[in-house]
């Protein structure tokens, strides 16, 4: 059974900062439930970033603009697909999906339900929840969108010069614990300098399907004068289920399984792990026949808003102000129309009656 926790948040820019009260002091003393005044000069050492990972632990309720609607019920592996994370390709946000021993082809069924130039809605992402437009679905598990990302992300494009070894059993205990990826000598690709231990990578383009996918780097080799001895080791593989009835959870394989291939033209993207899902079959507001998803009364308010903007373009500020006033008046009337009867304040359970 889960234990009770105590969280608080604050907002910084476009991010929400989540902090958790850690009841245990260094001495091992356990404190009782804190008050918010514990967030201060004396109590702040008890407030930390979340002390454990919780699946779907943070819930944000928010108002959004109805610029799109989801027209079909979301069904996993029909129009709802889970993804392991994302990277950036040519400056565009690209979602990544891996399977247990291969990567999916976004051009083949059922993944082809996410068509090029169609809109998708992402849910459950710690960064990309919302509407995106698909640029191209690849045969290598990548789904590129038109969303620009102003962030530089490492990528290595091999040209018949990347070697992937079969899994190794360094402990001689009968259990494989790592696989190595390194570039050929004279390729000038030093993978141990490009990636770090703990980074996630997405490998695509290997002729052996099992080598492609979403991996975590377990270690990097020490600097060497040869590229082939300056590689990286991968161990854990993260994947989405495609046939089992555990479609909504992320799989993690801690025993690497790779196939030795040499002189490969693979592409290795630095990736960000962010297990979430996307929904296709999105209807966006983009032509005259589209219905604006508003009640009739609010649609009239919207007419005033558009009139105000047109008047502003004509530099007719009097008309603009009039229309904006009407817009707000209708909105307020709509709000107050929802309130019926006398307003009462309920007394607290500890109140004196």
């Amino acid at each position: 059974m889960a234990s009770s926790k105590y969280y608080a948040y604050y907002v910084r820019g476009r991010k929400i900062a989540l902090i958790q009260h850690d009841y245990t002091l260094g001495s091992g003393q356990t404190l009782s439930q804190p008050g918010l005044n514990a967030v201060g000069a004396r109590g702040d050492v008890l407030w930390k970033s979340p002390t454990e990972s919780i699946t779907e632990g943070l819930e944000i309720e928010y108002a959004y603009s109805p610029k799109y609607s989801i027209t079909t019920a979301a069904t996993t592996q029909v129009n709802k697909f889970y993804i392991n994370g994302w990277t950036v390709i040519d400056g565009y946000l690209t979602f990544l999906r891996s399977h247990s021993a291969s990567v999916p082809n976004w051009d083949a069924s059922p993944y082809s339900a996410v068509g090029d130039d169609e809109h998708i809605v992402v849910r459950g992402s710690s960064r990309w929840s919302g509407l995106h437009k698909v640029k191209a679905g690849g045969t290598d598990g990548t789904l590129q969108t038109y969303t620009k990302v102003h962030q530089s992300v490492a990528v290595v494009s091999g040209s018949s010069n990347i070697d992937i070894t079969a899994e190794e059993d360094t402990g001689s205990d009968g259990i494989a614990d790592r696989s190595r990826i390194a570039a050929n000598n004279s390729s000038n690709i030093w993978l141990n300098n490009i990636f770090s231990t703990g980074d996630y990578i997405f490998v695509s383009g290997s002729e052996q399907a099992v080598n492609n996918g979403f991996w975590k780097i377990s270690d990097v080799q020490a600097d060497s004068s040869n590229e082939i001895d300056s590689g990286i080791y991968v161990k854990n593989r993260y994947y989405c289920y495609d046939t089992a009835n555990t479609l909504t959870t992320e799989g993690e394989d801690t025993i690497p399984d790779t196939y030795a291939t040499y002189d490969e033209s693979v592409t290795i993207y630095k990736a960000y792990r962010d297990f979430c899902y996307l929904i296709s079959d999105i209807d966006t507001l983009n032509d005259e026949a589209d219905v604006i998803d508003l009640p009739d009364y609010l649609a009239k308010a919207l007419v005033y808003y558009v009139k105000a903007q047109v008047a502003e373009d004509r530099a007719d500020l009097e008309q603009k102000e009039y229309n904006m006033r009407e817009f707000k008046r209708l909105l307020e009337k709509n709000e107050s129309a929802k309130i019926w009867g006398a307003r009462r304040i309920g007394s607290d359970e500890t109140a004196i009656r």
Partner: protein, 93 residues
Amino acid sequence: MTVKELMQRVGMTQTGRALAYIKDGLEEMNMIAETHVTMDRINISENQRFYDLPNDMIKVIDVRCKNHGNAADEYRSIPRTINPPSTEDADGI
């Protein structure tokens, strides 16, 4: 009401311009009074403090956490702090 009907009421003929103003209006409307509300659940990661707000979010209505003040897997509203903790954390903040 369709986009075309709205354009006729306003007396506009340019669809692209009308759509841009309609989208602006829908945002403005949700800023003042919430007409469309949804919620999103995000995985909490150990030692990760910052989480991006949803791309399509206009106004936060509530923030809840699983097991906040309970052990029954319920989502309950969490309080907002005025001052962030001053001690540096694992993600460098």
